[in-house]
Amino acid sequence: MNIELFFQYLAAGVTYGTIYAIVAIGFNIIYNTTGIINFAQGEFVMLGGMTAVTLHAFLPLPAAILSAVIITMIIGALIEITFIRWLTSPSVLRMIIITIGISIFIREAALHIWGEAVRALPYFTGTEVTVISAGDVHISPQVLWVIGISAVTVVLLTFFFNYTLLGRQMRACSSNRDAARLCGISAKNMVTLSFVLSAGIGALAGCVVSPITYVQYDSGTGLAIKGFTVAILGGLGNSTAAIAAGLILGILESFSVWVMPTAFKDVVSISILLLILFVRPSGIFGSVEASRLKEF
């Protein structure tokens, strides 16, 4: 393998890895406030991408993306209010099945609205053949967009959770729900907010990645599984570790193409998921003791 090809694989791996990390952060936000894994997380990514493509027909690109993110956030809020909010202490199994049902429902609705066509937003700068070259290494500017926007998102989220009142209230709910409620924080609103946030993040990821990966009514499921793998790999609930885990998975997957047929790319990442679940369900960065105390 020459150095040039090596960097191409690496760039592809980092791009996908960043997206997986963003999906994983979406999982983590909801998991931290509710203890639920939202199986419909991948559908938020798909909805964001699809809505942005449709809106781009009559709006400039930034406006289309912004509106798509806001629309997906509203859908996220509606989902939480309709299906989750009024349930009193639901069992984990029940929540899993409900969110799976929601994901099927969203996917099928997308199929009836948009059909089976594969869509994509235009490249944010340049076209698909534009490359930025540094020596022998050539990468598409969209890769930089993906990494840049993801990095900004992560920084903003960190700021939000650490320095704003709302973010701190959400963290209070996740660490001790009852104590937070005694302090006058509305736990229910925080749960709704967590759905809104993770829907928005998912939609944004769907928009920035759609020029490279394209988006289709059923592209959410695959992303959800990858995102979950990353969330587990980093330790469920730990968003910083999710970024590292996302990069690891993305790069591993990208280099697997080198030794195996492309058709088996997904098999590699899902095998990693199973392996992690079997061997170290607390994740490579998570603490074994802490995970024992959690309720799965």
């Binding site: 984990v92 099945i97 409900i98 799976i100 088996f264 095998s271 679940l277």
Partner: protein, 359 residues
């Protein structure tokens, strides 16, 4: 004793009555979908044991269905003629495991006998189920759901990406399965009634087996595991072993359904392994009442029949998604349960009384 066999006898009577009904209303084509629904019901009653009685969810049972179907399909269609000189092929041929069939172009092809293929498929399923089930069943909740979902996805991606499994087209031209002389699982129109009875005979056998299992020591152990696993463990029930054995049993039910349906349809495609199929099986178990074999079976017949007849049109998957959401929101313990009927009765009679008082 009577209570265990009476439903099975009643079920057989219904099966016979339905066959005559299709004869009377002159809709013999319904038997085709009913036969297919029967094989899908095998998967569903197996899964009902796992979810309802052992309390373990599986989102990957379509994977076992596909493993059974694909292995059987592959062995009964893969022509060994070019490998005849091969020592291994020679041994297999001498052992009488192979049969000569006519291929598409009228030439002879040397393939495995369906019985051998069937047994091989079941053996492989058992092996995979043990290997996967061991570590998977140690997990709980989200992790268990995701691990089984991951397993199902791997099977789907493997059959979709493997050329000798026909990739996206799947395998076709699969010969019929001669169970006994004169008794063949195949899609021929002349054998329609016969196949209807084979399919539902299998289901009746499966129900008998599972009903006996539930009323045995195993059944009590499973109920203990479902209500309080730690307590069951403390009482000396080997919970891990019971869960694993039920997992394997339900995988075998799925594989047998896959094997027979593949021979009946004469083909199998990757969509049989898709996650949506697995979710659909779970949805049917949920609407059937989780721990209610007869509920799961009746819903399996009705919903699969409606779906196969195309009554749901392009909303096929949506119907099952919505069913899942509604059941879990309003009746998380499943729909067809004794308590639900009792409550409904109480509610109706209570309302009757209230109206009576008003009058």
């Amino acid at each position: 004793m009577r209570s265990r066999y009476a439903p099975v006898a009643f079920f057989i009577a219904v099966v016979i009555a339905v066959q005559f009904l299709t004869l009377i209303i002159d809709r013999p084509q319904y038997l085709t979908q009913l036969t297919m629904a029967g094989y899908y019901s095998l998967v569903i009653i197996g899964l009902c044991m796992l979810i309802g009685y052992a309390g373990q969810i599986s989102l990957g049972h379509a994977g076992f269905f596909a493993i059974g179907g694909y292995i059987s399909a592959f062995l009964t269609t893969y022509d060994l003629m070019p490998h005849k000189g091969n020592a291994l092929a020679g041994i297999v041929a001498k052992a009488g495991l192979l049969v000569t069939v006519q291929d598409l172009y009228g030439g002879d092809a040397l393939v495995f006998h369906p019985w051998i293929a069937c047994i091989a498929a079941i053996c492989v399923t058992v092996l995979i189920a043990y290997v996967i089930g061991g570590p998977v069943l140690k997990l709980k909740g989200h992790y268990l759901a995701m691990a089984t979902l991951g397993f199902g996805t791997i099977v789907y991606k493997l059959v979709l990406g493997t050329t000798f499994f026909g990739a996206a087209d799947g395998l076709s031209d699969i010969p019929g399965f001669k169970l006994l002389p004169g008794l063949e699982v195949s899609g021929k129109n002349s054998a329609r009634i016969q196949n209807y009875y084979i399919s539902w005979g299998m289901v009746a056998l499966g129900m008998l087996l599972l009903a006996n299992l539930i009323h045995s020591r195993v059944g009590s152990a499973l109920r203990a595991i479902h209500s309080a696993e730690d307590a069951a463990n403390a009482m000396g029930v080997n919970t891990g072993r019971y869960k694993l054995n039920i997992f394997v049993l339900s995988a075998v039910f799925a594989a047998v359904g896959g094997i027979f349906l593949t021979h009946y349809n004469g083909g199998i495609g990757p969509s049989e392994a898709s996650i949506m199929k697995s979710v659909r099986y779970v949805a049917i178990v949920a609407i059937g009442g989780m721990a209610n074999l007869w509920g799961a079976l009746s819903m399996g017949i009705v919903l699969n029949f409606l779906s196969l007849r195309g009554y749901f049109g392009s909303y096929d998957d949506t119907v099952f998604g919505v069913i899942l959401i509604l059941i879990m929101l309003f009746a998380p313990e499943g729909l067809l349960r004794r308590e639900v009927f009792r409550n409904a009765k109480k509610w109706i009679s209570g309302r009757g009384k209230a109206e009576g008082q008003k009058a």
